[in-house]
């Protein structure tokens, strides 16, 4: 009995292929049932995220299953049989176990140490449990992997520090403002990074959102989608006076706000702190605004600088994190091999 994994990830396959191979949530029960019945593999967990699609299975003997599972993937997703060539990886014990543990710890993620993957592994496991595709081997394997993933994150700094522009923006806001949910955000323009930063800030509980755009065709849908209020682009000073956080990403080729303007705004605000995020290129906010008291102006380079310095820190933790994963894996394998010889366990095939 061997633990194996067949999969493809951002390391091995482009996004065009990954999205075709991804398992939609509603297709998952069918897929799990197909593996169980057609391939006669009692234990299977399918991990399908936007960065990876992986089939974990327990196979009775070492040979022959790689081709069968690959074949299953192409048939299930109606792909040309050769489309997966050189795009998938196949691991057996102990590499398959190591792979899962590294995935759970975030070591295999595109953004090293990101924590979302741990939840995705947990979901994949519990869905497989719900559909009767998990027996005693995978119960132990996935529970150990989840624990190892948690342990690696708590004992090292692999998951610490914001590493994306939007999360750096949110973290900075949390270092400036006392009661974040009570603050007001003003969005100028509607770029992709601006939207994701806005989404992250909304997740912190902020409710008051003002949207200004030169064309109301663009402002209205954005305002509606985030539950915000459309404000005229022409009275920027009024809007900035009301706001605490300004996210700016227009395509303007000049400064929308100058230092003297913001100075007046600050007097009107009675010097309440103002956090300006300028992610537009060329910049839309005069850099000299940042010299004013109680004004914190960050442009895209500043945010990226902080994000990359945090990423460097995470990369420095890979070694320590791998060691924890390796330890947990060895512990699991020695228990697993010890048990395998002693008892004859039959995976519970509840269908």
């Amino acid at each position: 009995m061997h633990i194996s994994v067949l999969g493809l990830s951002h390391h091995s396959a482009p996004v065009e292929l990954r999205e075709r191979v991804a398992f939609q949530e509603e297709k998952l029960p069918t897929a799990l049932a197909a593996v169980r019945q057609e391939l006669a593999l009692p234990e299977c967990v399918i991990l399908s995220t936007c960065n990876r699609v992986e089939l974990y299975t327990v196979i009775p003997e070492r040979d022959g299953h790689e081709a069968k599972l690959k074949n299953f993937l192409t048939r299930f997703h109606r792909l040309e049989p050769e489309s997966l060539d050189n795009r998938v990886y196949w691991h057996m014990q102990p590499d398959s176990v190591r792979h899962l543990f590294r995935v759970a710890a975030g070591l295999d993620s595109m953004v090293v140490g990101e924590s979302e993957i741990l939840g995705q592994v947990r979901d994949a496991y519990s869905r497989a449990v719900a559909h009767g595709s998990v027996g005693s081997v995978f119960h132990r394997l996935f529970q150990t992997a989840l624990r190892a993933g948690k342990e690696a994150r708590s004992k090292t700094k692999i998951g610490q520090g914001a590493v994306s522009i939007s999360s750096v923006g949110v973290e900075l806001a949390r270092r400036i403002f006392r009661d974040l949910p009570s603050k007001t955000i003003l969005v100028l323009g509607a770029g992709q990074i601006a939207k994701s930063t806005l989404t992250c800030l909304k997740a912190q509980g902020i409710k008051k959102i003002l949207v200004a755009n030169r064309t109301s065709q663009a402002a209205v849908p954005l305002a509606e989608s985030v539950g915000g209020e459309v404000v005229p682009f022409t009275d920027l000073e009024v809007s900035v006076t009301r706001a605490d956080i300004v996210i700016c990403s227009t395509a303007a080729d000049r400064y929308l706000l100058t230092q003297p303007q913001v100075q007046e705004i600050m007097t009107a605000r009675r010097q309440r702190p103002l956090f300006l995020i300028d992610i537009s290129v060329p910049r839309n906010l005069d850099p000299r605004i940042g010299q004013l008291e109680n004004v914190y102006l960050y442009d895209i380079d500043d945010l990226e600088g902080i994000a990359s310095s945090n990423l460097q820190m995470r990369l420095g933790e890979i070694q320590a994190c791998s060691e924890i994963v390796e330890q947990e894996m060895n512990g699991f394998l020695s228990r697993f091999n010890g048990n395998k010889n002693g008892s004859t366990h039959t995976p519970a095939a509840r269908a």
């Binding site: 610490q160 270092r175 009661d179 010097q271 109680n294 960050y298 310095s309």
Partner: protein
């Protein structure tokens, strides 16, 4: 009365010390934010600027109020014991200077609407006067105040 005078002044010093501490944290955090130092997001630095600023203000208000009460008591004691409300004793003099410094902090903050770095810095600096009045005067110059 003498005990109460000393006690109240002592508590006001404690409040000024809180202002000092939060003020220093504020200044460090604020300068990191301005310089875009990645350490601004360090795990330990979780108190937001606004909160530090708020505690700093409340501490100065508390300290100033108590210190004022303590000084009034002191001047009444001085009238009883030494004959006049103000006797030019170094302790009296430096207390008055300290009081004026914190009064300035509050005036700038509350009536002029200034806040942030400069005012917080003034509250931190004023603590040097507290230290001098509290410890320095007793040891460095002759004062009629026996202790404290």
């Amino acid at each position: 009365m003498l005990f109460s005078h000393a006690f109240i002044i002592f508590v006001s010093y404690a409040a000024f010390a809180v202002a000092l501490l939060t003020g220093m944290l504020f200044l460090v955090q604020e300068s990191r934010l301005k310089r875009k130092d990645p350490r601004v997001l360090a795990v330990g630095a979780i108190l937001p600027l606004e909160l530090l600023d708020r505690i700093n203000l409340y501490a100065v208000v508390t300290g100033f109020t108590l210190f004022s009460v303590g000084m009034l008591q002191g001047s009444r004691l001085a009238r009883l014991e030494w004959g006049s409300y103000f006797n030019g004793d170094p302790k009296e003099l430096w207390s008055l200077i300290t009081w004026a410094a914190y009064a300035a902090v509050l005036v700038l903050r509350l009536s002029r609407g200034l806040r942030g770095r400069r005012v917080v810095f003034l509250s931190v600096l004023s603590f040097a006067l507290v230290l001098f009045t509290f410890v320095g005067v007793t040891h460095l110059v002759a004062s009629r105040h026996a202790f404290f």
